[in-house]
């Protein structure tokens, strides 16, 4: 009988645990109904950046903000079309453009987001009718990251070095979606192509693929590989090399051809709850102070013209923002977005072909 009793006891404990958990979950769900911002973001440094600016906003407006990590904005927002569970999300211009084209993002008139006047107009992303798709917040750049024990900055004076056979089995490459969107665009530009004609960029991408051992399918994994020198170099994101959170044993270099500018905006899925709260949030993230906070903590460079990096941050940037911008190529993201799907298919076939 003792066996049965202790068994019943154990099952009871299990049940109690489960129901306490259930109660907590449903209580949390009720909180969400009061009106809060659930913002989607990539994980790691990006979500940390956004969490760092929540408090002043909530203190001012009383609206709680929750940053939830999503794998990627496009699939999440598409999967939730008509019944979005996010009130906002940070995404790159290609994601935003494609989602807006599919009618899945809220668009805005300038008077709804007055803070937009602080953003240089050339960085506004607009749909065909001229309505604003989300608010631009910051950018970083795409350069070549390398492990300091396995390579030197001088190894990568040109992007073409990535195709050098001496790196066989030592490089990393972005996942097909990002190589189709970033690498191919940049490589085509360097080799005399354009956003519509990416043919000239293909040989370099093929060379890089042939040298690659690992894919940046996931940031954390590539961070580890790069820090440990299992990958000697990889086309990568500048914000990974900022301040105390910088990847150990690694650095990033801008080859002489320059790098790719990677701008980001905050958009609102169409039909999401609490539109007024979302609007307040958009206006807040346009302000100079939160953008500077994000720069300081995470290395994303502000779009707000009044957000002037000073002291420590300017030193880390290494040059004034205007000089940096001169070395970065910004494609027409709409064109890149229109061709994204076919180019992903192309890149997949290129990676599969190389030996």
């Amino acid at each position: 009988m003792g066996k049965a009793t202790s068994l019943r006891g154990a099952m009871g404990v299990l049940a109690a645990l489960a129901f306490t958990a259930l109660a907590t979950v449903s209580a949390a769900a009720q909180d969400a109904a009061k009106g809060e911002i659930t913002m989607g973001s990539w994980g790691g440094g990006t979500s940390a950046a956004w969490r760092s600016i929540i408090k002043p906003f909530t203190d001012r407006t009383g609206i709680p903000v929750r940053v939830v990590e999503w794998p990627d904005p496009q699939p999440v927002i598409r999967a939730q079309a008509g019944n979005p569970q996010y009130n906002a999300g940070v995404m790159n211009y290609v994601d935003a453009y494609r989602l807006a084209k599919a009618g899945m993002l809220q668009t805005f008139r300038p008077e709804q987001v007055p803070g937009i006047s602080h953003i240089p107009p050339e960085y506004l992303l607009k749909d065909k009718d001229g309505a604003i798709i989300g608010v631009p917040v910051y950018f970083q750049y795409y350069g070549i990251a390398y492990n300091v024990n396995e390579a030197k900055a001088s190894d990568f004076e040109s992007w073409d070095s990535l195709a050098d056979p001496k790196w066989k089995g030592k490089l990393g490459i972005a996942r097909s979606k990002d190589s189709a969107t970033y690498d191919l665009t940049l490589y085509a530009h360097i080799h005399g192509g354009s956003d519509t004609n990416i043919e000239p960029g293909i040989p370099l991408l093929r060379g890089l693929a042939a040298n690659s051992i690992a894919v940046t399918a996931a940031m954390a994994q590539m961070n580890t590989l790069l820090s440990r020198g299992e990958v000697a170099a990889v086309p990568y994101y500048s914000a990974r090399f900022w301040g105390p959170q910088a990847l150990p044993n690694a650095s990033i270099v801008l080859p002489r051809e320059g790098g790719l500018m990677l701008p980001y905006l905050v958009a609102v899925p169409k039909g999401s709850k609490h539109p007024a709260a979302s609007l307040a949030w958009l206006n807040y993230v346009l302000e100079a102070q939160p953008q500077l906070t994000i720069l300081h903590g995470s290395g994303y460079i502000p779009f707000n013209a009044d957000a002037k990096p000073d002291g420590e941050d300017l030193g880390r940037l290494g040059m004034p923002v205007a000089d940096l911008l001169k070395r970065l190529y910004e494609p027409d993201w709409g064109t890149v977005a229109d061709h994204q799907e076919e180019r992903i298919n192309l890149v997949e076939q290129i990676s599969a072909q190389v030996k």
Binding site: D72, A209, R228, E341, I344, S351, A352, V354
Partner: protein, 278 residues
């Protein structure tokens, strides 16, 4: 017990769940045949027009096959050992069952620690002077297959063990005492009688391996994509539900094509083995 017709009411919850499952399946198949303006094979034609996709399909089947074969080769002696083991049998069983029940992500995480170029195994090998350069165990098919064998091996061992439980131990002894040498008694008596278990293990391992995502995603490299990782990519990165649906149907179809003959063989063999034991 309720009797008569009212007994059938008890089937209702199951029927409800199964109807939903069938509905999802039907929707999947419908989407894969939807060309946007009618019914057609466009998405399948599109799939087979891509040599890299076709190669990926083959790779998926080959990886599943390799995993299945390795599982049989190392699972069979293990199952035999457990079935003959007198002392500590439940301890050995526990060693099989526990890893089986621990979440795949947790186990894969462990393999990442072990298999990396600077992981535990390579560090040990270098330390012992067995090798100067680390042996690549991860970001290639070696890593994927190690991870998959780890996931599937308990399935295989348990399936074969079930067959050994049906096997009358005295039969093998009798064969031996009648003058059969160990190898002959194994080949003529034990192997045929446990074959149904092997077959059933094979079907299960093969099928579950064709549908994996986490292992090839975390342990595989650039050129080691499988159907599961491609489905993941279609759903999570580009959200092309129709494309994912087409791949899912193909994956399920391949499974059926391989399994139906295996099941038929298994049933034949178990009939034989029962006849032999009777």
């Amino acid at each position: 017990m309720p009797t008569g017709r009212s007994l059938y009411l008890a089937l209702l919850p199951a029927i409800l769940l199964l109807t939903l499952l069938t509905f999802g399946l039907a929707k999947l198949i419908a989407v894969s045949f939807d060309t946007g303006h009618g019914i057609g094979l466009a998405s399948y034609v599109g799939f087979f027009a891509r040599p890299d996709y076709v190669r990926m399909l083959w790779r998926t089947l080959l990886v599943a096959l390799a995993t299945t074969v390795i599982c049989v080769l190392i699972g069979y002696p293990t199952a035999w050992f457990i079935s003959r083991c007198q002392a500590h049998r439940s301890l050995f069983l526990l060693l099989v069952i526990l890893p089986w029940l621990v979440s795949v992500v947790v186990r894969t995480y462990g393999w990442i620690v072990l298999l990396g170029n600077k992981g535990l195994i390579n560090n040990l090998l270098v330390l012992m002077g067995a090798t100067q350069r680390p042996i690549p165990l991860m970001f290639n098919l070696v890593g994927v297959i190690i991870g998959l064998v780890h996931i599937s091996l308990p399935f295989m061992i348990l399936a074969i063990l079930a067959a050994f439980r049906h096997l009358d131990g005295a039969l093998a002894e009798a064969a031996m005492s009648l003058g059969a040498r160990p190898w002959q008694s194994f080949r003529r008596v034990i192997l045929p009688l446990t074959m149904p278990g092997v077959m059933s293990g094979c079907s299960l391992v093969f099928l579950s391996t064709t549908g994996v995502i986490v292992t090839p995603l975390l342990l595989g490299g650039l050129r080691d994509g499988m159907m599961g990782t491609q489905i993941y990519q279609e759903m999570f990165i580009v959200f092309s539900y129709p494309k994912a649906a087409t791949m899912a149907v193909l994956l399920a179809l391949c499974g059926v094509l391989v399994i139906v003959p295996l099941q038929w063989l298994e049933r034949r063999m178990s009939r034989h083995s029962r006849a032999a034991q009777a």
